[in-house]
């Protein structure tokens, strides 16, 4: 992997300097704080609105707060991952920076991998920030929850987000337009989320990783290993294909 270190350093600096870490971190932190907050104070907010209609809202639970957070992060995260990664390669090709870098002694694989590592780092840091905030607020506002289950859930969310980034990077390598890359990536990712609803194969697509949340948090056994392995393999395949494509195509 020639040049991986230098490329990774540059990519990480780019994430920082172009405020990606700040934006994604802020976004996830926002959901981490507001999810338990809203659950807790929703009844009172409704009361304040002065409606006399009595709506029976059961008292919020920790499971509810933590799973809701994970659910929101998955939805927002897919979109954020696509937005962050769609231009990562396509824009470098368009602006000519890819030609500058790839005419140097660096491997195409290192080029793709450095982007996946750096953007994954941003999302994992952001997720950690949001998750810690969510857990702290849930415990202090609602009740204490299953920390290890929540950790496991977040690891699955992290893996899923890395997968989303890898898919988007693949299309970013394939197309010259970042908008097209983003559109196709989003369609693919939403498409596989739909697949989770299907019987049998639904349990094995990457989207199923984030469908186990309730089981995880309530301590029920869940067979998630197949889909963890499949998602990891698909992520690696995306990187490999993106690099292979960059070798074949004109930069």
């Amino acid at each position: 992997m020639s040049g991986l270190k230098a490329l990774l350093k540059k990519e990480l600096r780019e994430q920082w300097r172009t405020y990606k870490l700040l934006i994604i971190g802020g976004l996830f932190l926002f959901f981490g704080i507001t999810t338990p907050l809203l659950l807790k104070y929703l009844p009172e907010i409704l009361k304040l609105s002065g409606e006399e209609v009595i709506i029976e809202i059961p008292p919020p639970t920790a499971i509810q707060s933590l799973t809701e957070f994970a659910g929101t992060i998955v939805q927002v995260g897919v979109l954020a991952a696509v937005l962050v990664a769609m231009g990562a390669i396509a824009r470098e090709k368009e602006r000519g920076t890819a030609a500058m870098v790839l005419s140097k002694p660096v491997g195409r694989g290192a080029f793709v991998l450095s982007k996946l590592f750096a953007s994954s780092a941003v999302f994992i840091i952001a997720l950690a920030l949001g998750a810690v905030a969510c857990y702290v607020y849930t415990v202090s506002l609602i009740e204490s929850g299953d920390a290890s289950g929540f950790l496991a859930l977040n690891l699955l969310v992290a893996l899923f987000l890395v997968f989303c980034l890898a898919v988007t990077l693949l299309f970013s390598a394939l197309f010259r337009s970042s908008l097209l890359a983003g559109g196709v990536a989003l369609a693919t990712l939403l498409g596989q989320l739909v697949l989770t609803q299907l019987p049998f194969i639904g349990d094995y697509v990457p989207g199923s990783l984030v469908a186990w949340n309730v089981e995880l948090l309530s301590g029920q056994p869940a067979t998630i290993w197949p889909s963890i392995i499949i998602t990891s393999l698909l992520t690696a395949a995306c990187v490999y294909l993106a690099a292979a494509f960059l070798k074949r195509r004109e930069i």
Binding site: A99, P105, K247
Partner: protein, 313 residues
């Protein structure tokens, strides 16, 4: 040793044959001008030689190694300036050079010093601290040259290095290129003839994907556009025409009026003989000669003649 060698190198984009069987050798230490009109296949060739694109058929060697998109090691011996160099707008000029040095695996201490030297060389010492996003076109071009020199390349590829610059910027870049030729073999693609005349010692002309000719500038002048000898007389020049017409070295003679004076234009098949014979014939004719001039063809004349399909090989 050859710095660049290609064998039947071809590139096809769909129906378009962008490069058609290029056979080319560039000697080490030369400044090779790759000349052709827009769309002739110049950038395609440079991309193939730098491994940024794969040939449809044929092979290429640069600095003794075969070029493929997978071959990483030959790229540490080349420098490349694309026709439109792209930079990360969030980096400063100096940071971009440092980043480039890191890609080449230069040790950090050497990298910093070398980057400063390069900024000095391309006259960006002050601007090196500013973000590239705010650079002018000329500054970006100079930074592009600097980044192509980071690894002290054995072969330097410059794709249209002057086309987007104003006259002052062009002169600066050309002077820079002249200075670089001591260290590297330079392969420079361009459509600007005067650039080639100023810095290149060898010239390849490409048109519609085919290499039309390779020669030195002088050789090209000698070979392709035969010199024209112009004679101007005080009075009617007709008496000299019969003397000229029988000569074996003559290709064409015409009688015209130039500035109101009778003028004879002689196009010779063999200029060397013509130059000795014409004065003798003038003396023989006894006409009062006003002016005798051997007109050298401009490179532009040759270029237009070659690429317009007039007098190719």
């Amino acid at each position: 040793m050859e710095a660049i060698e290609t064998k039947a190198l071809s590139k096809r984009y769909g129906d378009v044959l962008a490069l058609d069987g290029l056979d080319l050798t560039v000697k080490e230490g030369s400044v090779f001008g790759f000349l052709g009109p827009n769309g002739a296949g110049k950038t395609t060739t440079v991309k193939l030689l730098t491994g940024l694109s794969q040939p449809t058929s044929g092979r290429a060697w640069v600095a003794g190694e075969e070029v493929t998109p997978r071959a990483v090691s030959f790229r540490s011996k080349i420098g490349y300036l694309p026709d439109v160099p792209g930079f990360y707008g969030w980096m400063t000029g100096r940071e971009f050079l440092l980043f480039t040095g890191e890609l080449f695996g230069l040790p950090p201490s050497e990298n910093g010093k070398h980057s400063d030297e390069l900024l000095e060389l391309v006259d960006l010492r002050k601007a090196g601290k500013r973000k590239v996003g705010g650079y002018s076109r000329g500054m970006r071009q100079r930074l592009g040259i600097a980044q192509a020199l980071v690894n002290r390349p054995r072969v330097l590829f410059l794709d249209e290095p002057t086309s987007a610059l104003d006259p002052v910027g062009r002169r600066e870049v050309l002077e820079l290129i002249s200075r670089l030729k001591e260290e590297s073999t330079i392969f420079m693609s361009t459509h600007i003839l005067s650039d080639v005349e100023r810095v290149c010692d060898t010239l390849g002309i490409i048109d519609q994907g085919r290499l039309v000719t390779v020669a030195s500038v002088e050789e090209l002048r000698r070979r392709y556009a035969p010199s024209v000898i112009e004679l101007q007389f005080d009075e009617d020049a007709a008496p000299i025409l019969p003397l000229l017409e029988g000569q074996p070295w003559l290709e064409k003679v015409e009688s015209v009026l130039s500035n109101g004076l009778p003028t004879i234009r002689i196009k010779a098949r063999d200029v060397v003989i013509a130059k000795t014979e014409v004065p003798r014939l003038v003396a023989q004719s006894g006409l009062p000669l006003l002016r005798y001039e051997v007109k050298m063809p401009s490179l532009e004349d040759i270029f237009v003649e070659l690429v317009s399909g007039g007098g190719g090989l």
